[in-house]
Structure formats: C-alpha cells, structure tokens
C-alpha cells in the first residue's frame, strides 16, 4: 500500500511547552492508525497541524508522496482530510442540517443537504435527525452529527479525536463497523484515543506519544494493555480496590418522578424511581439523550419543577428546592459540561470555587479572598491538578485537569450525596484512575454516590449496583455481580424485565 500521509520531524513550540518534538508519522491508504497518548502528550496539536489549524515550526508533511503545506482547515478539506473534534464545533441555535450545510460547498440547497444527511446516516446506521436544533442534542448525539458531517465530504483521511467516549457498547461496535468499512473502501483513519482495548480491537498500527515525542510505534494487535500503557504513561495504571462493603441507610430516594421536558426535543421523565444508600456507588448506564440531562437537572435542582415528594434526601422532600438549598443538605453535583456549567471559563479557579463552596463568603456577603484562594490551592494540590495556580482561568486548563478540579471541589466539600455525570469523559488514564479512586474512597467513607456515565467499563469498575435509563424511564437496580455487558446493553434499549408492565401501572416499584 502507498503512503497516504507522511510527517517528517514535525515540531511545534508553544510559549510554555514544546507540544510536538521531532514527530514522524506514516499512514498508509486504507489504514486505521491509532495515535495513543495521555492528555497533554501533543496528540491534539499534531492533529491540528495535519488539519491546517496550527502551523508547525519545523518538519515536513507529505500527502500521497507530494510535499504539501496545509494553510487552513479549508485547504485540508480540499485535499480530502476531514476531522471530528473532541470538542464539537456546532452552532447551538442552528439545526443539524444547517450546521452541516455551513461546512459544505455553497452549491447545495438545504433540502438536498437534509436528504444526504438522512441517507449517509442511514447508510452507516447513525441515528441523526436533521431538523433538530443542536442545543437540544446530548453530547453523544452531537458527536454523531460531527461524524456524519465529516463523512459527507467523502474524506481520504478521517481524523477522529476520542470518538467513543460517549457511545454505548453497541454504538461503539457500530462505529467500528463504519470505520472498518471506510478503511476497506480505501479511507485512511487517524484514531486518537487513550482507550487501550479499543485501539487493540480496531487499529492496524499505533504511534504512541508522550510529552510531545514519539515513544513507540507498534502493532497494537500484538501488544497487551500493560505494554501499551507503559509506552503511554511510563507505568501501568494503578489498580483500584473495590472492597465489598455493606450499604447503609437510604440517602436519596426518588419515586414517581414524572416530568414533562422544558424543551420540545427533550425527554419526558416517566415514573422514575431509584434509591442510593450511604456507602454505595450506584451506576446509571444509558445512551445519551434518554433523559439523563432531564433527570440530572431535576436531582440537582437546576430544574425545580419535580412533583412534590418525588425526590427525598434523608427522607426530607427536596423536589422543589434550589440547588443551593440542596447543597446545604449535603447534595453535591458534578455536571457533564465542565466549561460554562461546572466552571465559568474566564474566571479563575479560586473564583470558580465560589459556585458551590461558601466557605469564602463572610459577613454581609463579603468575599474573603484569602480563604477562597486557599480552598482552590488545596483542591489543586490534593487532586494533582496541573494549573498555573489558584489564579489560573478555568479555560486555561486541559479537559482532564479541569475535571479533576471540579470533581475535587465537590469531593472536598465532604458531600453526603454526590451525583456525578460522565466523571472521566475525555480524561486521560492517569486522571481517570485518580478520579475513580477518589470516588471509591468517598464511598468507603460512607457517602452515597450516583454516577451517570456512558462508559460501561467505568460503571462496572466502580459501581455496587447498576441501573439503566432509557426513554425517560429507569430500570430496577442490579447488583454489579449479576450484571453483564450484554444484559445491560439490552436494557439500554428499554427492554428490562417488567418494563412493559410499568407502562400502564404507575406503582411498579416497591
């Protein structure tokens, strides 16, 4: 096979760090090529260089054997390079079709684009509704839009940045089928990930980056998770110990939580019932867009319309209380969106502690700057957040480090009930292990924890009991020992025992 893309000695210096240092990469036609590395290893910079969004300081790029300089993403697209970013670049107020239309040649009419989206989406088994406004879509749904958008340009090289972080096992399998088919048709794929299993299952070749340098070029099918991990982080990830522990009294009790969505494309919650006890982690699986956002908003108090008595914390009705009131009762929440919801992007980490922590608010609402900064510094130190101190703006942190900070901010508050959405989305192996370890430690300390995640591996690793959310309804809980990936996967389509029976009767849970 000929070389589709070749990078020779690529280097990129940023003010503080050398993001790429003498990187060489060779991608053949029709090859699925993994780029493995932790957050901050230089993967994103390298991809942006290939995609023309960043200009390298040194080195050469060859496309089909010819030296090229890719001046802009438009030039990259003209060559046949398409990219699906980890952080999506979609306009919230526009519909899916309008978003896709924006990135295409001007010649096509919107109805034609809509038709092609439907056609491509159906062809690859991707569920996308072209007429929906993007702001109503969940993360997983947005990703499908990005992938469809990339596929519409019929790329010769498709770059995917952490594509599976929000997909179900079945959806991952579907995506892999799509990618294998694309590769068989001759499309080269650059697959950026830190998920070792996936790389070993999918990719033909793997280039490992650490600290901006290539630390290995291997055939992933011949490697073990441990050997890949050593190349990536220089060590094997720490093993978590999940000691059996008897659960304590009920902390969170949800019953008969039925709620119409605020947004016409939202999901209605339908008789949701669940319990979380002290000292246990309950994991909630589900494909994104099945009511997770709505349930989380009702539990956190961001949506205070839940029917009275449907949400109880230590037996006390909190269904209509504000988030601050719930927090005073010990309910802390880590949302899925870090920038803009879990943290204010332009504000410092110190200021961001004030969103959920009131230790620094003194008499007459006067802010005690030193207390606030000390709190932020403590979280930074305890959770090994890589940041330029308490004064660093939230948006200056990488996704993983900001997540460590936000999770740390809530854990540091010594919550009695912690609700976490997507705790390790887009977070590197080391940070993910740290976050999971902290969640387990918190559980061992007697806190009740509800984790909502679209990563099944993670839920199986840390949960005591598992349940599934589908179409706004929640399944009964299953001890993790009795759960299998296949069983939970089936439940994710809404098919759990008794699911049909609860359709008519409202008092199924006892």
């Amino acid at each position: 096979m000929s070389l589709r893309l070749e990078l020779i000695g690529i280097g990129k210096q940023y003010p503080a760090v050398k993001a790429n240092d003498d990187i060489s990469l060779r991608v053949k036609a029709g090859e699925i090529h993994a780029v493995l590395g932790e957050n901050g290893a230089g993967k994103s910079t390298l991809m942006k260089i290939i995609y023309g969004a960043v200009k390298p300081d040194e080195g050469q790029m060859r496309w089909n054997g010819q030296p090229v300089q890719v001046a802009s993403p438009a030039a990259a697209r003209a060559l046949g390079i398409s990219m699906v970013y980890q952080h999506f670049s979609l306009f919230d107020t526009l519909t899916v079709a309008q978003n896709v239309w924006l990135g295409l040649d001007k010649g096509l009419a919107l109805p034609a684009v809509t038709a092609r989206i439907t056609q491509v989406a159906a062809g690859y088994g991707l569920d996308v509704q072209p007429e929906r406004p993007v702001h109503t879509l969940s993360v997983g749904e947005r990703q499908r839009v990005e992938i469809v958008r990339a596929l519409l340009t019929e790329p010769k090289l498709l770059i995917l940045d952490e594509p599976t972080s929000v997909l179900t096992p079945q959806a991952v399998d579907k995506l892999f089928t799509v990618l294998r088919r694309l590769a068989a048709e001759g499309t080269s794929i650059l697959y950026i990930s830190h998920k070792l299993d996936e790389i070993r299952a999918l990719c033909h070749h793997c280039t490992v980056l650490r600290g901006g340098k290539v630390t290995g070029e291997v055939d992933p099918t011949q490697e073990s998770n441990a050997s890949l991990s050593r190349l990536m982080i220089g060590a094997e990830p720490p093993q978590l110990t999940h000691a059996a522990r008897a659960a304590g009294p009920v902390v969170l009790q949800v019953q008969g939580l039925t709620l119409a969505p605020t947004d016409p494309f939202g999901v209605a919650l339908d008789g949701v019932a669940l319990e979380v006890r002290a000292g246990e982690i309950v994991g909630m699986a589900g494909v994104s867009g099945n009511g997770q956002q709505e349930l989380l908003a009702a539990l956190s108090g961001e949506d205070p319309r839940a029917p009275a008595g449907s949400i109880r914390l230590f037996g006390q009705d909190i269904a209509r209380q504000s988030p601050r009131r719930r927090r005073r009762e010990g309910l802390h929440f880590v949302p899925e969106e870090r920038l803009g919801r879990g943290a204010v992007p332009t504000m410092s980490l110190a200021e961001n502690t004030l969103l959920t922590r009131t230790a620094g608010v003194g008499a007459f609402g006067w802010l005690r700057t030193r207390t606030v900064e000390a709190l932020a510094a403590r979280v930074i130190a305890r959770f090994q957040v890589k940041a330029g101190g308490a004064g660093a703006a939230a948006r200056s942190l990488s996704g993983g480090n900001l997540q460590k900070f936000i999770v740390g901010r809530e854990i540091d508050a010594a919550p009695r009930l912690l609700i976490v959405a997507q705790p390790t989305w887009g977070v590197d192996v080391g940070a993910a292990a740290l976050i999971r370890g902290e969640l387990l430690a918190l559980r061992d300390a007697g806190c009740a924890i509800l984790v909502i995640s679209e990563e099944l591996d993670e839920l199986f690793e840390i949960s005591d009991r598992l349940l599934v959310i589908a179409k706004g309804r929640v399944s009964p809980a299953l001890p993790v020992a009795e759960a299998t990936v296949e069983r939970i996967g089936t439940w994710m389509s809404g098919l759990w025992p008794g699911a049909a029976a609860t359709e008519g009767g409202t008092h199924a849970a006892a």
Binding site: S322, P323, G340, G342, A343, E351, L355
Partner: protein
C-alpha cells in the same frame, strides 16, 4: 500577507492599551476631518483636547460634566457585566431629574426649609427612586413577559421625555415664570454644596468617586456582585450554582436605574436648579461609551468619564471658536466607540505577518 490569529489567552496589555490606541486613532481621524472642513487641524485638536484643561474654571466644568457620566456609567457597568443590556439610562436619568425635582419643588412651594444635610439627601433619594421606577418597568417587562430589555429600555426614553414635557408645560410650570415652560427655582437649601469656590463644581463629583470605589468593591469583593457576573458570563453555571437569574436581572436594573436617577437628581440640584424641557442632552447615551471605554471597570470609568466630558466641552468650544458644526462632538464620540470596538478585536486575536506562498504553477 496579514492574518488574524486567535491568541492563546486574551491579552491583558491590549485590554488596557485598546482605549488609548482608540483615542489616538480618533484624534488622527479628527485631524483628517478638520482638514476636510478647512480648519487648521492642530488648532482643532488644541481646542477640543487641550483648551478645556487650560484654566481652573474650565477644568471644573470638565469635572462637573464628568460627574453624571461617571455615575450613570457605573450603574451600566454592573448591568452589562450581568449581561443585561440596559441602553435606556437616558430615560432613567430623566426620571431621576423628575423624582429629585418633585421632592425639591414640593419642599420649595410648601415653604419647608430643611437643613442642607437633610434636604439634599431627600432630593437625591427622590431621584434614585425615579430612576429605579423606570428601570423596574424594564425588569418587570423582561421578567414577566420575556420582553427584550434593549428595545424596552430604549423606547422608555421617549416616554420619559414626554412625561417630563407634560410636567414642565403643565402642573410644574412656574406661576411667576412669564408662562415659560420651566419650573420654579429650587430653594437654595436643596442645592448641592459647591466643591470649589467660584465654580459650578459641586460635591456630587466626590460622591461619584466614592461610588466608583463602592462599585469596585461590590463587583469584585462581594458575593452578590460575583453572582451577577457569573449570570452574565455563564448562565448555565449560574443555574448550576443556584444563583437566581431573576434576582440578578432585578439587581442589575435597579442598581443602574438608581444610579442614573441619582445622576439626574444631581443635575437638577446642581448646575440647573430647576426642571426644564432641556434636561435630556444625551448624557445617558454618552455614558454607554464611557462604560465601554472604561472597560466596564469602575476605576476605568472615572478616567473615561473625564475624557468624554472633555470631548463634549471641547466640541462646544470648537463650535464657538472655530465655527465647526455642533455635530462634531457626537461624531468624535461615535468614532471613539467604533474604533475602540475595532481595537478590542486584538484583545482576543493578533495580527501575524505571513509570507504569501507561491501560487501553484
């Protein structure tokens, strides 16, 4: 080839330098305009930017005019930081004139003479309540009916002007005023004490400086101010934290309305001394420019208020001395804001000189 590139982090230096560069460019454009109008450009600049600072009396006039600009802009900064776009400060200012005027006229016509330390604060309070009332209408319409506050606050300016006219041409007309459409002069015990001998500058200027410090503390050292700004910067984060968006909306509008009203009361209880049909001179709109030139920061606003006041007075001087059209001051104001917004591009982006690549053969 020149290219705009996003910066990794917003440039602090450019945040501060942008208004200064904008001022320099505005002066440059002014030179071109002067030349086009057949006026000596240097003389023009001298009259507009230097002459108003040449004598003690002139300086006092600049500070006098800066006072309402600063006070209004402080309130607008709180509002804009909360992402509430109140552009009707002019109307709230007018209601402040009327509120303060109502108190002053009632006391004057009733013949009640209070000590200055009681009378003046009462007049100022009346002004603040008037401004808050007008801003509360905006808040109510936005809160209850989801009306757009930009449109509503702007349109209420014209309503305020008609209310003022109705009062001055009607019930408030001075019986001894030869049927002139203006109120009686306020009793001297209700006027703001002078700050400098033999000038019109009054203690309101000191109050403006104090308010700038208070606004700084409110915005950057109080939890309430923090909540307002979170609501403005990231509404979802404010919802997540549990900060009330309604409370922010009302606080922002009542603070800015109250301060615009206070500025109005200080005008009628200061240099004007009565209610006339000519109270609306656009100070409430100029204050928007002050607010942005001052970077929405209270201390920056003090400087920007003095600068815009200087340009207003300089514009008037240019009209009388050099025969330049009286629109000159407005033109310069508009240019300053426009150029400033253009310069602000470079806070988040930078220009890079890139070699143009050879065209493919």
């Amino acid at each position: 080839m020149l290219r705009l590139e996003p910066r990794a982090a917003p440039s602090q230096a450019m945040t501060v330098a942008s208004p200064l560069i904008a001022l320099a460019l505005t002066a440059l454009v002014a030179v071109v305009i002067f030349a086009g109008l057949g006026t000596d450009p240097l003389a023009g600049l001298q009259v507009i930017f230097i002459e108003p600072l040449s004598t003690r009396r002139q300086i006092s006039e600049v500070l006098l005019k800066a006072t309402p600009l600063i006070v209004i802009a402080l309130g607008l900064a709180v509002c804009y930081r909360a992402n509430v776009w109140n552009i009707g400060a002019e109307g709230q200012f007018l209601l402040g004139c009327l509120g303060g005027g109502a108190v002053a006229l009632w006391l004057t016509t009733q013949g009640i003479v209070l000590p200055k330390a009681v009378g003046v604060p009462l007049v100022l309070l009346g002004g603040m309540l008037g401004g808050m009332l007008w801003a509360a209408l905006v808040a109510l319409l936005r809160d209850r009916f989801n009306a757009n506050e930009i449109l509503v606050s702007l349109m209420l300016v014209y309503v305020a002007q008609q209310v003022a006219n109705a009062l001055v041409f009607g019930p408030w007309k001075d019986p001894q005023g030869f049927n002139m459409p203006q109120s009686a002069l306020f009793h001297s015990s209700l006027l703001l004490p002078p700050l400098l001998e033999r000038t019109r500058l009054h203690v309101g200027f000191l109050l403006a400086l104090v308010l700038a410090v208070v606004a700084t503390l409110f915005l950057f050292r109080s939890f309430r101010g923090f909540q307002l700004q979170v609501g403005g910067l990231a509404p979802a984060a404010a919802r997540y934290a549990g900060f009330s968006a309604r409370a922010s909306l009302w606080t922002a509008l009542l603070v800015s309305g109250g301060l615009a009203g206070l500025a109005g009361a200080m005008e009628v209880a200061g240099p004007i001394r009565q209610v006339t049909p000519y109270l609306s001179t656009g100070l409430g709109f100029t204050a928007i420019i002050v607010c942005f030139v001052g970077r929405l920061h209270p201390l920056g606003i003090v400087g920007a208020g003095v600068l815009l006041s200087l340009m207003l007075i300089g514009g008037e001087l240019a009209q009388s001395r050099l025969g330049l059209p009286n629109a000159m001051a407005s033109v310069l104001q508009g240019l300053l804001l426009l150029i400033l917004l253009a310069c602000d591009t470079f806070i988040h982006q930078r220009l890079r000189l890139t070699r143009s690549r050879a065209r493919p053969a």
